[in-house]
């Protein structure tokens, strides 16, 4: 893989900026040229498919059409929601010619259906097995809970090659980063999704349960590929009880970047609400500390209410 289309999506310009930074960094390290779709628009996210079906297809349609026009056969959509909307639109268009015709009229652009959408798990998996293979020089030695949430585990025809009840795409990447994927129960349980502002109590409760289970499974940190899950799990920790607090939540691409020895700041690690500092320095740098000790130090260095 030498080049790949890139659709950052709105979150990655804002709340999910770490995902954008780390994706760009690891791609650079792997020698993959990310070509951002020019003048892309929002995919409509949850709001569009809650309120208007046509809109929920038409907005991603414009993005896909632009990508095709710009000659991008494959597009990475790191945000799980964007991935789901774009690939879902591809599927729906392929299934119904009637819909394809209608949406084409709404958007006023052609789209032949030839753009393949890749998610962050697949992308990181490919980098770990490809361009980064020789660069993963800093085994981190951590226990990692891979959190798939909803949109990277479920959705027929969208998430491919994955057991929806027991997904495993992240495992290879976690191992490539010199870490151990922990077996835990909440890897596909919902964090509350888009209710962060409108139904905050639900998000806090569900996200806390996810973090608590990761902690019980002995995880040092949680990794995810979804900016929405990330903001729920990371930013809402201060509203949680002790079971949820102080668990670093990283993007999968950040973990991969750290294992390549990339600078934590460049990957965006300093931008998380929950301090990821203690795990940012690889084991080799930290000396002979074992992961469990590093977990202990993490607890002390993360004050509950900053």
């Amino acid at each position: 893989m030498k080049a790949c289309g890139y659709y950052p999506g709105c979150s990655l310009a804002g709340g999910g900026v770490e995902l954008d930074l780390s994706i760009r960094e690891v791609s650079k390290a792997a020698g993959v040229d990310l070509r951002e779709i020019e003048d892309w628009n929002c995919c409509g996210a949850t709001a569009a498919h809650c309120l208007n079906h046509d809109l929920a297809v038409a907005l991603p349609y414009r993005v896909l059409s632009l990508a095709e026009e710009q000659g991008l056969a494959e597009v990475l959509a790191p945000c799980a929601a964007c991935f789901s909307r774009l690939k879902g639109t591809n599927l729906r268009l392929a299934r119904s010619a009637e819909l394809a015709g209608r949406v084409r009229a709404v958007v006023g652009r052609p789209y032949g259906g030839g753009v393949k959408i890749v998610n962050v798990n697949e992308f990181c998996g490919r980098l770990a097995a490809g361009g980064l293979k020789d660069k993963l020089s800093k085994p981190l030695g951590l226990k990692v809970a891979g959190y798939y949430g909803c949109l990277l585990s479920r959705g027929e025809g969208i998430v491919e090659g994955e057991d929806p009840e027991n997904p495993s795409a992240m495992d290879a990447v976690i191992r490539a980063a010199g870490c151990e994927p922990v077996s835990w129960n909440f890897s596909t349980e919902c964090c509350g999704g888009g209710f962060s502002m409108s139904k905050t109590e639900a998000v806090v409760e569900l996200s806390a349960a996810v973090l608590a289970d990761a902690r019980a499974a002995g995880a040092d940190l949680v990794v995810t590929g979804c900016p929405m899950c990330h903001s729920n799990l990371d930013m809402r920790q201060r509203s949680m009880g002790s079971e949820g607090r102080g668990m670093p939540v990283l993007y999968l691409s950040e973990l991969l970047g750290l294992a390549c020895g990339l600078k934590p700041e460049a990957l965006g690690l300093n931008r998380h609400f929950t301090d990821a500092g203690p795990i940012a320095s690889p084991l080799s740098v930290r000396g002979e500390r074992r992961p469990s000790e590093c977990g202990a130090s993490r607890n002390t260095s993360t004050p509950g209410g900053r």
Partner: protein, 190 residues
């Protein structure tokens, strides 16, 4: 609307669901697995399996109650129900159609106002800029709900961590995006 109803009790709403999602609500045998796995069921006034049941009766009163319930607005779209439905139905997609219908008929309950306001603020922002931008979104949402102080404490830190771009980004193809909104809305008003 399809002339041929699946059952003689199939309501117009159920027929619309069948056309838009392929889900035949009559096939639901009320096992309750959707409710059992739903992470948001605790915050719902009508459980997911009851939502399906209310679509089966073909009774107008049931349908009205359904379209004015808050459960529709508390669905996170996590697809757990769809993933595990032993009949291969897609309750999550049914929820989408019901939300659309509720909004069209103006039956969204007051308790779901915040959720709807958020979605609407989100889409308005996208319509204006072509993308979602945090500041305009939050501003619109707070104006709509009067919920001025919630999460205010998060903002400074987000700013500090570079998570709140100060200048909203507007794309060049804004006019194209607005056209998409205009055209899609035609169907909404239908």
């Amino acid at each position: 609307m399809s002339a041929h109803a699946l059952t003689n009790r199939e309501s117009l709403l159920a027929a619309r669901i069948r056309e838009e999602t392929g889900v035949k609500v009559a096939e639901c045998y009320q096992c309750g697995k959707c409710t059992a796995g739903c992470p948001m069921a605790r915050w719902m006034d009508i459980s997911p399996n009851q939502i399906m049941r209310n679509l089966q009766t073909g009774d107008e009163a049931d349908e009205n109650r359904l379209l004015s319930c808050q459960a529709l607005w508390h669905c996170a779209g996590c697809l757990t129900c769809t993933q595990r439905c032993p009949k291969g139905l897609d309750p999550a997609a049914v929820m989408d159609v019901l939300r659309e219908a509720a909004r069209r008929r103006g039956t969204v309950p007051a308790s779901a106002r915040k959720v709807l306001a958020f979605h609407e603020a989100f889409l308005k922002t996208v319509e204006d800029f072509g993308r979602m931008n945090e500041w305009p979104l939050v501003a619109r949402y707070k104006l709509a709900t009067g919920d001025l102080f919630a999460d205010v404490l998060l903002a400074p830190e987000m700013l500090l961590k570079g998570k709140l771009p100060i200048v909203p980004h507007a794309i060049r193809g804004r006019e194209e995006v607005r056209r998409i909104f205009r055209e899609s809305r035609k169907k909404e008003k239908r």
